[in-house]
Amino acid sequence: MALLQISEPGQAPDPHQRRIAVGIDLGTTHSLVASVRNSVAECLPDAQGQVILPSAVRYLDNDGRQIGSDALRAQAEDPQNTLVSVKRFMGRGLKDIANADKLPYQFVDKPGMLAIQTRAGEKSPVEVSAEILATLRFRAEDTFNDDLYGAVITVPAYFDDAQRQATKDAAQLAGLNVLRLINEPTAAAIAYGLDQSSEGVYAIYDLGGGTFDISILRLTRGVFEVLSTGGDSALGGDDYDRVLVEFVQSTTQCVVVTPSDKAQVMVAARACKEALSSQDSMQFEVTLASGAVACKVTRAQFEEACKPLTQRTLNAVRKALRDASLQKQDIQGVVMVGGSTRMPHIQTAVAELLGCEPLTNLNPDEVVALGAAIQANQLAGNNPDGELLLLDVIPLSLGIETMGGLVERIVPRNQTIPTAMAQDFTTYQDGQTALALHVVQGERDLVADCRSLARFELRGIPPMVAGAARIRVTFTVDADGLLSVAALEQHSGVQANITVKPSYGLSDDQIATMLQDSFKTAEQDIKTRALVEARVDADRMWLATQSALQADGDLLSAQERIHIESLMATTLNSKKLEDAAAVEAATEALAKGTEAFAAQRMNRGIQNALSGQHIESI
């Protein structure tokens, strides 16, 4: 699919050309979609007026499915086909899932990412997430009665490369054009920062359903600079529920065996936990296969039981402060995000540690989606004078395996992205002609303790004595926080590249197959739609090239110009055909043929901007 972009810098698309861009918070327990309308970010409601979509998917007979509240209601009665909290399984193998035995699902252990057996077959967490994302996409398209230009999807700051890649795959599967993945705490800061035009250093404490993030940010004139980030991508409200269940089990000696039992105690625990945020005690009631269970739980008992969990979050806050080289008195304010921060003892603990009263004036459930919508609006080019700039960091160090199973760190954690870093390596044996590279992510020194992201090989190194080869390995992390790796032997020029996907992500082929499968059941006439889209894309590309030639045609030689003009003519002619593939091919040829020209123009633009900068900044 060709990606087309038009507007010249500073030139706002006219109002009816406004691109529809949304922010999506794909949460563990619930998800939301928001968009900027009339300069204000707001969450979009469904037909019933609900903005929150429970992140639950139930697979029915005959390829049917329920998504959201309908699915959630069936959780106890149909536990094995009603999938909740799948975000915890994104980019994860079965061995990564603590307490898998407490969950009602039939897990299928697969290399890379686990799957869940349902009556509709095996479902990967990516597919389940795609169902949720597609539901939100349709909600947005219905709201605006138009196609979406693109979406910003939020991920926990502490998500590693595999989890981010899985999220991006899910969005692609849902037919979304991902403008950017951004970190949830950063999104929350945008929502707060722009509302209050705050300046200074802020901590964002984000305790969601299944993940915990802490980010320390500095805000200056629209720039959101992340100083450090930390957290735990497997710690959230679900764990507080689990602790509550354990408390009840040890008090009443009840046994939880069947999938329905497991699902029911999860539901009861959540209700009990939520009630304890506003009252001092609550009756935990559930009917299990072995009989009815009732147990009174006081708030004090609950808080005592989950102290270790809260303590883990506080340790992460201290560590993030140290990583940012800051003391707690440097923190101007702390923003609370995520439904779990409604628990009063969490607010007290954070206020005590950081010495300031937490900000809770925006709805902690909505704030992430709102921030993402503001960023999406700007990335879509709807707000060309926008000052907003995110300078985010990678949460976990990236490195490669060296002799003895040790990790050599190449990109340290908390490095501002985008970034590229390289390190030279050499061969271990005389005459060695190939090198196996194993890319890992994590803070530990042993490969076995880090997450394996990818393996690839550099072959064809000319035979040399051990230690003579100079292999430069470069890690590039883009603005989405996604990694690609390149290796180059410097004497011979032999090289190998990899976009990090194989061990944990889905291959492009797998995504293509899934997309086809999902289209089979779609109601719209895909063919017509594809042709219309292809023609619109062709128009955009043609217009963009036309205006580029007018603005910077002087950068081209006569020959280059003729070549580009012939590609433009081909694109224009292809539009007369009733063949989407032919139109796409011509558009893509034009895009490819103008890449070098686009690069030169960009370079001229940035250089002009940077030198203009000098004068401004004095």
Binding site: R180, L389, A598, I606, Q613
Partner: protein, 189 residues
């Protein structure tokens, strides 16, 4: 110190010449050790405002790629300029006196003795509080060494002595990291 983004920049072809200016030229600041951190931060953000890929998200993959190269280069320069140790090493290198940390590990005896004492103190510490004093002491030593770097590089321009000082600082810096790691462990208990 041997980390760089150079081969990413090589891939940019015609851009390489413009991207290859030294960090001080890129940031348009005097080539010296003494720098105003706040001014550096502002400059970095202003440069990123112009070059960050997000500013070109509506303009195509080629534009994104070029912006990314610039943005990476600006981040690389900023990382090196804002860290006093890396900035000192970089200035020595630009002056033709590379640090060569891997090949040259000879250090004065008294320095090594102090390092050993510190290591023992670190190993013996059992609580976070007992580490705070050591932490303070090491940070003070580091600040003094940095002040010395400034005078060697900016005033006397004695780069062979500056290289010695930078090497010592690298030991100190590594030790500071070890203390941090230990503090993490003690906090996590």
């Amino acid at each position: 110190m041997n980390r760089s983004a150079s081969n990413v920049i090589d891939a940019a072809g015609p851009l390489s010449a413009q991207l290859a200016v030294n960090d001080f030229e890129l940031f348009d600041i005097p080539k010296q050790f003494a720098q105003d951190r706040a001014a550096l931060d502002t400059r970095w953000k202003n440069l990123q405002r112009e070059a960050h890929p997000d500013k070109f998200s509506a303009r195509g993959t080629a534009a994104q790629r070029v912006a990314m190269q610039w943005s990476v280069r600006i981040n690389e320069a900023y990382q090196r300029l804002k860290d006093p140790l890396r900035r000192a090493a970089y200035l020595c290198e630009l002056a033709g006196a590379p640090i060569n940390a891997e090949n040259n590990t000879a250090m004065p005896t008294e320095f090594l003795v102090q390092q050993m004492q510190w290591r023992e103190e670190l190993d013996d510490a059992t609580t976070a509080d007992s580490l705070r004093n050591l932490h303070q002491e090491v940070l003070q030593t580091r600040d003094a060494a940095l002040a010395n770097c400034e005078s060697l590089i900016d005033q006397t321009q004695d780069f062979s002595k500056a290289v010695q000082q930078v090497r010592a600082l690298m030991f100190i810096e590594r030790f500071v990291k070890d203390i941090d790691t230990r503090l993490d462990q003690l906090d996590a208990v």
